[in-house]
Assembly symmetry: C2
Homo-oligomer: 339 residues x 2
């Protein structure tokens, strides 16, 4: 069905019907000039926004709309997770070209709803408009946290240990594979499928972020959206410190280790691939022993240093400066990354 | 200067430096994964978002970037105003094509900042990314209000009086004039300039909205973004009522009355032009006498009816059904409207 069959307000009505009725937390949701939302007493509001642009962040030849809806919410959930917050509400603004059908937009919202529901997040409003050419998605995510438990990027101190959750590089490798497998049957292989899945439907570490923040054991935190080198750079810059990372400690998945036909050294996907949406955090040495007790999958990959540089120790023990080599929207011409 | 000279993070740093440092209300602003914001005790959060797309909502041949920044914030401020709230924070997500210079983006933020500052609104975060073709702007605006004072679209009852603030139709006429005056000197005329100004830099009725909401005299409210016929339609639909509007009571500015060379009947700009960002509200008869006391510029243009239709009485006393003739993003091919 074409969008002009149901019109803008028909579309809004469909979205509204598919989502929950007004709740105690969101007494006014979709359908008024603004949503009215309740922040828990004693809590501070967290707010973030991320935009995904066709031809820049995604290619409709390699992603389905369900995955795109999922991912659009996931990248924002990851930002709330990196503050140690609980996500609560989201708003979607979509600029939709004529070639996109009502069914595909419905799939987008199903994907978004699937991950939102997992985290108790309610869609409370948005905007839908036409676009001459590209599909553009902008999501605003609102969450909450107790003020004193919020973890920023700026609290890392020399001597703190650097940790990262899960594994890195899968998404970057998955992006390369999804492009090269457009018409092939490469996707049939389990490892390839896993890497592509991590690229198309990333899993934000919301529960882990909250647990780490609540523990008080973490001095700084950021999510890995641009790539380890860039995001570690952001964290160190905000904290006024440097870091030293040991290459062979960087956690890589079995799928990435076994994947064949990749163009780069697999460590490069971890360092500059981005879009893993893992959490990168620092822990003061006196709190180090508490980390295993949280039962989360986290690996110590290095240490915070006083000097402002980022240093990388390779498997031969040589030290080199680590350049922030993740995605910069205006400086590079690479395509296909969401931040 | 080209954006690739300073890069994405250079741009973010410039925006960050141009805006205020963290405050008590926004202890964490631009530069972290999410902003941390304080909602006043006893208040409910209001949240809204609006997207503006090049070639759909605006044409860079007829608007400057300063005006575009102003307008992007104004349309969102108007939504908070229509709930009777106080705007507090905003986030900007921009997809920027390569042809846009750093200076033009700086002008966008100056315009946005100029109107935000008037209303005590702080820019607390956002996202900047590249775009292959069109400039796309998405703003999320957060405000607050006391729960019991919030005015929705759904409270209008038969017999309530229909009011509108200011004058209608200027923006729609201004849009037509700004297009036809691209290369001419039509813009020199004061009336034309005023109409164009109302189109390019609308003034949201934030103080009036709050005053009306605080008074408790208003049963329903909406801002006029799509055009009187459409927005009255939305309000009536949400309230489960109809309305009867008297054509010659619709307030029209002196500039609109005097403008020459317009293609439509001037009343048509008021009914379906949209983008006036005035407030349309309903008042129970027993509260009617309180309205003049607020000292706001508001005109009674009709009455809420039990039947669900919208009726229009023309200057000959004939009654006709009013069709919602404002902008629908997917149903019509007209261009150049922000909602």
């Amino acid at each position: 069905m074409r969008l002009d069959d149901i019109g803008e307000f028909g579309l809004i009505e469909r979205i509204r019907r598919s989502f929950a009725a007004p709740s105690q937390r969101a007494p006014i949701g979709i359908g008024d000039d603004a949503a009215a939302l309740c922040v828990s007493p004693g809590h501070t509001l967290l707010a973030t926004t991320d935009m995904l642009v066709e031809g820049v962040h995604f290619d409709l030849a390699t992603t389905d709309l369900y995955s795109l809806g999922w991912k659009s919410a996931a990248v924002n959930l990851s930002d709330i997770a990196a503050m140690g917050g609980t996500p609560r509400f989201c708003m979607t603004a979509l600029a939709i070209p004529r070639r996109i059908t009502v069914e595909r937009i419905a799939a987008f919202y199903r994907g978004l709803h699937a991950i939102a529901r997992k985290h108790g997040v309610v869609l409370v409003g948005g905007d839908t408009c036409s676009s001459k050419r590209d599909l553009v998605i902008s999501i605003a995510m609102l969450g909450e946290a107790r003020r004193k438990k919020i973890v920023t990027r700026s609290g890392a101190r020399p001597g703190d240990l650097v940790y990262v959750t899960g594994t890195l590089g899968d998404s970057g490798a998955g992006l390369e594979l999804v492009r090269s497998s457009k018409s092939g049957n490469l996707r049939q292989k389990t490892d390839v499928r896993k890497l592509i899945e991590r690229h198309l439907r990333p899993v934000p570490r919301v529960a882990w972020g909250r647990m780490l923040a609540e523990s008080g054991s973490v001095s700084a935190m950021i999510d890995v959206s641009d790539g380890l080198s860039s995001d570690l750079g952001h964290l160190c810059e905000e904290s006024g410190v440097g870091a030293e990372i040991t290459g062979d400690r960087i956690p890589l998945s079995r799928s990435l280790r076994r994947a064949t036909g990749l163009r780069q050294n697999i460590l490069d996907y971890a360092l500059s691939g981005g879009e893993d949406y893992e959490l990168l955090f620092t822990v003061p040495p006196r709190r180090e022993k508490t980390i295993p007790g949280f039962g989360i999958d986290a690996t110590n990959i290095g240490v915070v240093t006083k000097g402002r540089s980022l240093r990388f120790i390779d498997d031969m023990g040589s030290v080199r400066l680590l350049q922030a080599s993740g995605y910069d929207h205006f400086k590079v011409s690479r395509r296909g990354r969401a931040r």
